[in-house]
């Protein structure tokens, strides 16, 4: 059994103006992840350490942090990939609650504003949908709301005045837009009300996504293209033109 030094960021903003990294020595075992090490500190050294986790299986998106400066899930990052000195800090893009825990509640407010999935009224039930038509939306539905992409995005981080909702929310909108039974188009909303234009396609968000969602290529760019009415995404284009035809037919009926 080896040992590592874990430097954990500690601060209660209510009482401390500045935070500091505190070093803890942690014994390691096979296959250990960063969350195991941080929990070791919590259970054996200092129970007042604040951290957030839930599933410990990479499925819930609770344990987001910056590990050696890289936004990552603590429960999915193995110690043996990192050497024997590991730095763990809270996500910098969100207000700090305490230690490793941040306030991500602003995201719910944005999610409320994105128009909800709105089923087409013309399709007979139960719906018949081809597997191939669900694949695009399914990619976005893998999102576990870890907000790591929000954390890494320089627009969200440094230019909060822009009102840009951030990559997670474009993924959310895209998951509804590319749902084969959805009747809306959210791209104009994203452009006019969610600051989509401020994203300059640096792709940093895609790099940190633990669910390997191609945020920029498959969600952001198509939504941008749609917003300027240039149909970039072929699958979406087909779906959309099909929908348009249906809509036209329906309007005719009324």
């Amino acid at each position: 059994m080896g040992k590592i030094t874990l430097s954990i960021y500690r601060r209660d903003p209510a009482v401390e103006a500045e935070g500091k990294f505190v070093d803890y020595e942690v014994p390691t075992e096979d296959g250990m992840v960063v969350l195991d090490a941080v929990k070791y500190v919590e259970t054996n050294i200092d129970p007042t350490l604040s951290l957030r986790w839930n599933c410990k299986a990479g499925k819930c998106g609770s344990c987001s942090a910056e590990i050696n400066y890289k936004p990552s899930l603590m429960c999915k990052t193995r110690i043996d990939t990192l050497g024997d000195h590991i730095k763990v800090a809270p996500m910098g893009a969100f207000p700090l609650i305490k230690d490793l825990v941040t306030d991500v509640s602003a995201n719910w407010e944005m999610l409320k504003k994105i128009p909800v999935f709105t089923p087409r009224q013309d399709a007979p039930k139960p719906w018949i949908i081809a597997q191939i038509d669900i694949e695009r939306s399914k990619e976005f539905k893998k999102c576990i709301e870890c907000f790591l992409c929000q954390d890494v995005c320089h627009v969200v981080r440094e230019h909060s005045g822009t009102g840009y909702f951030g990559p997670r929310h474009i993924v959310k909108a895209a998951s509804a837009d590319m749902h084969p039974m959805d009747a809306l188009d959210r791209s104009e909303f994203l452009d006019a009300n969610a600051g989509l234009g401020f994203c300059n396609i640096t792709k940093c968000c895609t790099e940190v996504c633990p669910e390997d969602i191609h945020i920029t290529d498959n969600a952001i760019i198509p939504e941008k293209e749609r917003a300027v009415n240039a149909f970039y995404d072929p699958i979406a284009m087909i779906a959309r033109s099909r929908r348009r035809k249906k809509e036209a037919k329906n309007n005719g009926k009324q």
Partner: protein, 571 residues
């Protein structure tokens, strides 16, 4: 001493934002009453998110012979004849509607070649019945419901931990909670309270359950006078990971076996052919779990103390589309490529069949104003739960509890809780903040080791008595735990508050297991290896003073028209 707290008023207070809580919230809100949801984790993170395999509903998309009657029979028979017939009937009849409704809310299920919702085979379901989204069904379910909740005027408080239910006379009228991110106390006044807090797997050392599953709702309701039922019935899932140590217990979905995975011992024998020649790997969970356990005990286990689960013969493409999370889980955590190598698995504590006793149609409890739904409620699964029946359960009975509570609030009034009740509770919470307290994690470690060692997959009188002594000892030690720091985001404090609830759950399980001198479903005793007709009963747990009282009650008699659907019980 006067304590500070925030008053908050609503019609229905829902404790828990898993599938059951969220579905209840939608039903309550759509009935026109004010709804507030609280959860101890963040919105969208509840344990439900981990569900993998699917939702059981007899759509008959692949096997046209399937219908609610077959689903009803499967549920009741595998519950080993102590399920509540009415709950099993409602589940089987209503699950298809709930699945289609979820689809209308935006969930995207995998499809058949004809474009219908696809269904996979699962243990002891007669037909292919589980509607699924790869192996991420829980994520799709909870995100879909979350979206619906966010787009309704439903209030929610996340990271709000409820510590006590408030009563006036015999009626529940609200609850006290602490908001983790600020350390502020809240006094909720409500016409009705729904407990939807999920299970208690964390009282065991090796479990598939998430951090939250500490049986809080059991403790809250039990202390408010609610009856618990079937608590001795704890489901061991046959396949949890065994290696590396940090992920011991983590679930390997039954979908692996549903999609063709086979179990092998260290001699390469497909041993399920011996234990269950007909249903093999897809027999009910209790049977497969005990077979795995028996092979390990007989010395035919793997290097890390499991058995092998192999799906590599299905090929990489098939595995990566059907079981993407399992592929990633083994690659990321164990460095095992399941398209080429065998997995090592062993039984892991997975589900609590028992819980708060409820009325099937409305989910009300025996305490006025109090309702319960989801894993924390009991009656549906009896002695053993079928895979996929829980996600169906939380949708069907989550909705029913929202409707039941809404109906009740139309006649009920808001009451003022007594100030001294609230302040007394706040003082109790604060009393855990001290320098000389015993480390709560130590107590939890002792409890969970005790449960795993003595109240495992095969039980005996000696071990159960040993377990009970330990639990009673920990009960008297529990008030002495404590942590440093303050009220804000102090998980150590939370652990102190969870311990009494964990102990209530553990005590009930052990007392029930001692009382049930037979083997039935998930409850297996080596000293009473046979099923006994005298125990075709439910065990009820009630609070009487400071004691837990047990009572055996006959299983409610089912009407003749349903009896015809059920295979007769054999002894």
């Amino acid at each position: 001493m006067a304590e500070k707290y925030i008053d908050y008023e609503t019609d229905i207070l829902i404790i828990g934002a898993g599938g059951a809580g969220l579905r209840a919230a939608i039903a309550g809100f759509d009935s026109g009453v004010r709804v507030t949801v609280v959860t101890k984790s963040l919105l969208g993170k509840a344990h439900t998110v981990m569900a993998e395999g699917g939702i059981a509903a007899s759509l008959g998309n692949l096997d046209s012979k399937d219908n609610w009657e077959v689903h009803f029979n499967d549920t009741f028979v595998e519950g080993v004849y102590i399920s509540n017939w009415r709950m099993a009937e409602l589940l089987a009849r209503e699950a298809p509607d709930r699945v289609y409704e979820l689809e209308q809310y935006g969930a995207l299920f995998d499809r058949t070649p004809e474009g219908k919702i696809s269904q996979r085979a699962f243990g002891a379901h007669t037909y292919r019945r589980l509607c699924h989204v790869g192996d991420r069904t829980g994520l799709e379910l909870i995100k879909t419901l979350e979206d619906q909740v966010l787009h309704r005027d439903i209030k929610f408080f996340d990271e709000m931990y409820i510590t006590k239910l408030l009563k006036k006379g015999d009626r529940v009228i609200g609850a006290v909670g602490i908001k983790l991110n600020s350390g502020e106390f809240y006094a909720f006044r409500a016409k009705a309270v729904i407990v939807a807090t999920g299970g208690c797997g964390k009282i065991y050392k090796v479990t598939s359950n998430s951090w939250e599953s500490t049986g809080d709702g059991l403790g809250l309701a039990f202390n408010a006078g609610a009856e618990l039922m079937d608590m001795e019935m704890i489901q061991f899932h046959p396949t949890g990971m065994v290696y590396p140590p940090g992920v011991r217990g983590l679930l390997v979905t039954e979908g692996v076996r549903g999609d063709g995975g086979i179990l092998l011992n260290s001699e390469g024998e497909r041993f399920m052919l011996r234990y269950s020649p007909k249903k093999k790997e897809l027999d009910a969970r209790d049977i497969v779990a005990r077979a795995n356990y028996a092979e390990i005990m007989a010395g035919r286990g793997t290097p890390h103390g499991g058995v092998y689960l192999d799906i590599s013969h299905k090929g990489a493409d098939y595995i990566k589309t059907k079981l993407p999370s399992m592929y990633a889980q083994f690659k990321d955590f164990a460095g095992v490529d399941i398209t080429k190598e065998k997995m090592e698995v062993a039984p892991t504590v997975h589900y609590q069949m028992g819980g708060i006793k409820v009325d099937p149609d409305t989910t009300r409890t025996n305490v006025e104003g109090l309702f319960a739904a989801g894993e924390v409620a009991s009656g549906l699964h009896g002695g053993n739960r079928l895979g996929g029946n829980s996600l169906a359960d939380i949708l069907v009975f989550g909705r029913r509890s929202g409707l039941g509570a809404a109906e009740y609030t139309k006649k009920a009034t808001l009451e003022d809780p007594s100030k001294s009740d609230i302040e007394g509770e706040i003082a109790r919470v604060k009393s855990y903040l001290r320098d000389d307290g015993r480390n709560p994690y130590e107590v939890i470690e002792e409890l969970s080791s005790n449960m795993s060692e003595n109240v495992g997959i095969i039980r005996t009188e000696t071990n159960l008595q040993k377990a009970l002594i330990k639990i009673l000892e920990l009960k008297s030690a529990a008030p002495k735990v404590g942590v440093r720091g303050d009220l804000k985001y102090n998980k150590g404090l939370l652990a102190c508050l969870e311990i009494p609830n964990m102990l209530t759950a553990a005590e009930a399980i052990v007392r029930g297991a001692i009382t049930r001198k037979e083997s039935r479903g998930a409850h297996a005793r080596s000293d009473y290896p046979k099923k006994d007709p005298n125990f075709k009963k439910n065990i009820i747990y009630k609070k009487s003073g400071d004691e837990m009282k047990l009572e055996l009650r006959p299983v409610p008699e089912m009407p003749e028209n349903l009896k015809k659907l059920v295979d007769p019980e054999e002894y």
